[in-house]
Every structure is written in C-alpha cells, then in structure tokens.
C-alpha cells in the first residue's frame, strides 16, 4: 500500500530528481570512491540536523512575534487593508488564509530570516484544504523567486571579501529579482486552470 502511494507520486518532480541524482551519484561513487558514499549521505543528515536547530531557533522567535501580532489585533487591521488587493492576487475569499499569505509576503520583502516560513506553510495548507491550488502555486512561486528587496547576505559577504563598494550590486539584483517574481506570477496566472 505504502509502495503504491509512493509510486503514484512520480509526477512530483522531486521524485524524478531524487531518483536521478541519487542513482547517478551512487554510480560515480561506485567507480571512483566506494567508501565515500555513506559519509556523503551522513554529511547531508548532519547538515539537516544543524539546519533544523537553526530553523527551530528562528521559528521560535517569529512564531512568538506573529502570535503577538495576531492578539494585538494588528494582523487583522493589516489584513483588512490588504485584503482587496490580495484577494485578487490569490483568488481566495478566505480572510484568514489571505492574511497569513500577506504576512508571509511582508516577511519576505523585509528579508527577515526564517520569518516567512511559519505563515507561509499555514497559508499553503489552508489554500490546499480549500482546494485552491492556484493560490498555493502563486504563494509558492512568489516565495521561490525571491522577494527580498535588500540582499543583506550578499552585501555582507561582499564587504567581508573587501569589495570597493559592497552595496553597488543592489540595483542589478533588485531588477533581476523583480523580473523573476513578475515573470513567475504572470506564468502562474496564464497557466491557471479555467473554471
């Protein structure tokens, strides 16, 4: 039963990529360095453990923040202001889901590390439960094409590497990221299922 369910998922591109990369890597390791295979996988597991702890730390902070935002009534007020526009973007009348999606987008634009995920995951689940695949796709594509206005990591790394003017990368990055987000949103809109 379990096997069958996994086999039916083959449409999800991750399954194809996972199988292809895993097999190709296994063959290369088999020929070149058979003893390196397990350590490579364990290194991945190790990273996942480290990353999870880092994520846990930032989710703690931001989930606390978002709860205060909710209970103070501020998220309702923000949602009320943004609802007319956001409703059309996501084609959803679910006030709560759209409000969560707006919090996700705002956290993305401000570039708050780790903050977009909790409201993003909650909004996606609500959209999917309401069988609104369009909204879930839109939210995912907006997230996956980067909305961050200030590339803080890049600027910090360039400063560390001794760039003459670390921030002069700002304009090309901003233009490129605006373009990718716009293109992604338009493609989701154009390829939507008509009902």
């Amino acid at each position: 039963m379990r096997m069958l369910r996994c086999a039916a998922d083959i449409q999800y591109p991750m399954n194809i990529i996972f199988a292809a990369v895993f097999l190709a890597a296994a063959v290369i390791f088999l020929i070149a360095d058979p003893e390196g295979f397990l350590p490579a996988m364990l290194a991945g597991g190790q990273k996942a453990a480290t990353v999870s702890l880092a994520l846990l730390a930032s989710y703690c902070v931001w989930l606390g923040f978002f709860k205060v935002l909710e209970q103070s009534g501020l998220s309702d007020r923000l949602a009320k202001g943004l609802f007319p526009a956001a409703r059309r973007l996501f084609r959803s009348d679910d006030r709560e889901a759209v409000s969560l999606a707006c919090q996700n987008l705002a956290a993305n634009v401000l570039g708050l590390p780790g903050a977009p995920t909790p409201p993003g995951v909650a909004a996606t689940q609500k959209f999917l439960n309401a069988r609104n695949g369009y909204a879930a796709d839109m939210l995912f594509v907006l997230n996956a094409t980067s909305l961050q206005l200030l590339p803080t990591t890049v600027v910090a790394l360039r400063a560390a590497a001794g760039a003459a003017s670390p921030a002069d990368i700002f304009l090309p990055t901003l233009l490129a990221t605006l373009f990718s987000t716009l293109l992604g949103a338009v493609l989701v809109f154009v390829t939507r299922k008509r009902t």
């Binding site: 591109p13 991945g44 597991g45 989710y59 995920t117 760039a163 990718s180």
Partner: protein, 169 residues
C-alpha cells in the same frame, strides 16, 4: 544599506508598544506562539533531510562539477559566466551550500570582478526552489511539476537578465 539592520529591532519595538497599548499580556502571548515551533520543525524535518542528503550527494559525487562543465557552452551562449555555473545548479537545493560557494567565488575572483558580481546577482535574485517546495508542500499530495518548473524558469530567465545588467550597469 547599514540602516537595513534597524528593521528588526524597530519592528519588534513598535509591535510590543502597540500590543501593550492594546493590553496584550506579552509574556503569555509570546510563549503561546513559541509552542508551535517544535511541531513545525518536526513536520518539516524528514523533507529537509532528504533534500540535504541529495544536495550533499550532488556536490560530493562530483556530479555538479561534471554538469557545470557540460553546460558551460550553454551558459556562455546565454551570457552567464561558466565560472558561476555550479552556484546556479546548487542554489535551488541548498541555501547554506550556495552561501559557502558564493563566498568562495568572491575570494577566488575578487569581490569587484564581473564574475563575482554575476554570482552575487545569481545568489540574490533566486531562491532555494526545491527546499521551499519541500517545506511548503510537506506531506501534500499535490502535483508540483508546474509551480516548480515556473519558479526554476523565472529564476533562470532573471539570471540571464541580471548578468546583462552587470555588464551595462
């Protein structure tokens, strides 16, 4: 740019002042929110492990280096310096991996070089598509081919444009 660091403390201070005016019990409320953190991480953990094991195999097997080599003519044709090909291939899988790679490129070619600038745009204008799809759609049975392809395509198209901007801006 240094003002960017002010955003987070200002955001928290403004929210907490507003919440106090609205008579929210801050400690109780904040703690209540934190309760959701462990269940969230637990639900994402298996997907995280699979994606990160995959990105580790992709890199350590030399697969990414071979692919980069094979794709170099394509990158060159599109105006993307082939030296950043590995970064372009790795970014959809792993944020921490591509951050490390970006700082390697910066020190190898010099932070102000054309290659390094293109690498910065590649890093800054795209996102970890597979990682985000694993996290946002954790456990759902939705067919993700379309949104993932759209995200990858948009990021790649903007990279071509970004490298062009690096030449002219």
């Amino acid at each position: 740019m240094k003002y960017a660091a002010l955003i987070i403390p200002l955001l928290f201070a403004a929210l907490f002042v507003y919440a106090l005016i609205r008579k929210v019990r801050l400690y109780d409320c904040f703690t209540e929110g934190v309760k959701g953190a462990i269940p969230l991480v637990v639900s994402l953990f298996p997907y995280l492990v699979s994606v990160l094991i995959l990105s580790e195999l992709f890199e350590q097997s030399g697969l990414s280096a071979r692919l980069t080599q094979g794709l170099a003519p394509v990158f060159r044709f599109l105006g993307i310096p082939p030296e950043i090909g590995k970064l372009v291939l790795l970014k959809p899988f792993s944020g921490s991996g591509s951050t490390a790679l970006l700082s390697e490129i910066l020190s190898a070619y010099g932070a102000d070089s054309y290659i390094a600038r293109c690498a910065c745009v590649a890093y800054g204008s795209s996102e970890t598509v597979f990682f985000i799809s694993a996290v946002y759609f954790a456990g759902s049975r939705k067919n993700l081919t379309k949104p993932v392809l759209i995200a990858l395509f948009s990021n790649f198209a903007s990279l071509i444009l970004g490298c062009l901007f690096c030449r002219i801006l």
